[in-house]
C-alpha cells in the first residue's frame, strides 16, 4: 500500500533521513521504533509532504507522493496525527471534527464517519460543545485521531499517540487503534513506548540515525536483547 524507497530528507543543512526504505501492507498495523531524534517523526512528515523528500521514492497505491502538497496527499486517503496533538484549541470539539470532514464535504459520509468515531471515543460525544483547548490530554489525543478519521482515511500515520498519557488512557487508545484497523484502516505507528507498540503492531521497523536497521516480528524483538538495548534503550523483556 505504502512503499518508501531510499528516501533522503533534510531540515536545513542537517541530513535527517539518510535512505529510508520500508513497506506497509494494507490492513496491517506497522510500527516504527527507535530512540529520540532518529528521524521517526520526520519520516511521517515526509510521507505527508510537510518535509520535502530530496531523493528517493514514496509510492502510495502505486502513485508517487513526492512533490505533492499535504492537502493533496490527504485527499488521496492518508491522514497524519501529529505528536503534541495539534488540535484547534479555540474551536469546539464539533468544529474540530468538522475541519476534518471538510474534504470530501459529503454530509452522508461525514455522518457515517462521525458515528464510527463516536463508537471508538464515546467521551467526545459528551464534549461536543467544549473548546478543544479545555480537554484533558487524553481527550485531546482522542480528538486528533477522531478528527483525522473524519476524512475516512485508508492509511493513518500516528505519531506517538501514547506519549505522556496515563496507563488507563493508553489502554483505551490501543484498543481504538485495533478497532480502527479492524474497520479497514491501515496504520503506521511511531512509538517510543515499545511495550505499547508490541501490543498492537503486526511488525516493527527499527530506526537509528536516519536509517532503517531492519524489520522484526514482535517475537524477534523480544528475543534479541542486544537489539533492544542498542536501538530502543530497553533491556528488559516486554
Amino acid at each position: 500500500m505504502l512503499v518508501l524507497a531510499d528516501v533522503h530528507a533534510y531540515y536545513g543543512e542537517s541530513h535527517v533521513l539518510q535512505g529510508i526504505s520500508l513497506a506497509v501492507e494494507q490492513g496491517q498495523i506497522v510500527s516504527l521504533l527507535g530512540r529520540n531524534g532518529v528521524g521517526k517523526t520526520t519520516t511521517l512528515r515526509t510521507i505527508m509532504g510537510l518535509v520535502p523528500a530530496r531523493t528517493g521514492q514514496i509510492l502510495y497505491k502505486g502513485q508517487s507522493l513526492v512533490g505533492l502538497p499535504p492537502h493533496r496527499i490527504a485527499r488521496l486517503g492518508i491522514q497524519l496525527v501529529p505528536e503534541h496533538r495539534g488540535i484547534f484549541p479555540a474551536l469546539t470539539v464539533r468544529e474540530n471534527l468538522q475541519v476534518g470532514a471538510a474534504h470530501p464535504s459529503d454530509p452522508q459520509r461525514a455522518r457515517h464517519n462521525a458515528a464510527r468515531v463516536f463508537a471508538y471515543f464515546p467521551v467526545l460525544r459528551e464534549r461536543l460543545h467544549q473548546k478543544g483547548g479545555s480537554l484533558s490530554g487524553g481527550e485531546q489525543q482522542q480528538l486528533t485521531i477522531a478528527r483525522a478519521l473524519m476524512a475516512g482515511p485508508e492509511l493513518l500515520l500516528l505519531d506517538e499517540p501514547c506519549e505522556g498519557l496515563a496507563p488507563l488512557v493508553v489502554r483505551t487508545l490501543l484498543q481504538a487503534i485495533r478497532d480502527i484497523r479492524a474497520d479497514g484502516t491501515t496504520v503506521l505507528l511511531v512509538e517510543q513506548n515499545v511495550r505499547a507498540a508490541l501490543q498492537v503492531a503486526d511488525s516493527h521497523y527499527v530506526m537509528d540515525k536516519g536509517r532503517i536497521i531492519g524489520k522484526f516480528s514482535a517475537e524477534a524483538l523480544q528475543a534479541d536483547e542486544e537489539l533492544r538495548t542498542r536501538f530502543l534503550g530497553v533491556s528488559a523483556r516486554l
Binding site: H71, Q79, P82, I87, A90, Q98, V99
Partner: protein
Amino acid sequence: MEAIAVQALQGLTFGTTLFLVAAGLSIIWGLMNILNFTHGTLYALGAYLGLVVFGLTGGNFWAALLAAFVSVAGVGAALEIVALRRLFGRDPLYYFLLTFGLTFVLTEILRLIWGDDFLGLPVPAALEGSLHVGIIFPLYRLFVIGVSGAVALGVWLLLTRTNFGLLLRAGTQNPEMVSVLGTNIQTIYTLGFALGSGLAGLAGVLVAPLTGLSPQMGVDLLLQAFIVVIIGGLGSFRGAAVASLLVGEIYAFGIRIAPSFSMLLIYAAMILVLLIKPSGLFVEGAGREA
C-alpha cells in the same frame, strides 16, 4: 443632552465604519500574520471605484457598494497571489515592509488616475436630509451605521456558520494542521485576504460621501485601525468590534472637548496596551509571544 446624543451617534458612525476596516485588518493578521499596510490604500481604492460605478449606473449607491467590495477583494487576492505569497514562512516584519512598499505604489497609482484634488461622492438622493426625533441627525449617517452593522453581522455569520469561516478560523490557529486535514491552506489565505480587502473597499464607499475622496484618505483611518486591532487584540474579531466602538466614541467626544488631543489620547491608549498586554485585550485561544 441633545448634543451628547448627537455626539454619541457621530461616534457610532465613525466606530462602525472603523470596524469594517479594522475587522479586515484583524482577519488578515490573525490568519496570515500579515500586518497589512496597504489596507488604507485599498480603502481609498474602494471609494474611487465606488465613485466610478456610481457615475456609470446613474447614481446607484448599492451597485457602488457591491462593486467596491468585489473589485477591491479581487485586488487583494491579486496582491496575495503575486506578492505576499512569496514571503510565506518569513518573519511577519517582512510582510509589514513589503506592504509598506506596495502602499507607495498603490497610492501613486491612485494619484495618477484621479489626481490629488478632493473629489466628492454625493449622498444618494433617497438619503438626503435629516431625521428629527428630539434630535436632528443626518439620515445618511444612520444609513452608514445600519449598513456597517449589517455587514459586520454578515461577516460574523460567515465566520461562525459556514465551512469557509470554520476553515479560516482553524487556519488562524494552526495552518499546517488545516492542510494536513486536506484543505488547501493557500486558497484559504487568498480568500481571507480578499475578504479583508473587500471590507476595506466597502467602507471606503460608505465613508466617501461624508469625507470626500483623496488618495490619502485612508492614511489616518489606517492608523486608527491599527490602534483598534492592537487594543482589541491582533486577530480577534470580537476585540476589533469593541475597540472600534470605543475608539469611535473617544474620538467623537474628544473632538468636542479638545480637538487634536483626542488622537493623542488614542495613541497613548495603544502604547499602554502594547506595553501591558501586547497580544491585545481580547485575544482568543493561545497567547502569542511578543
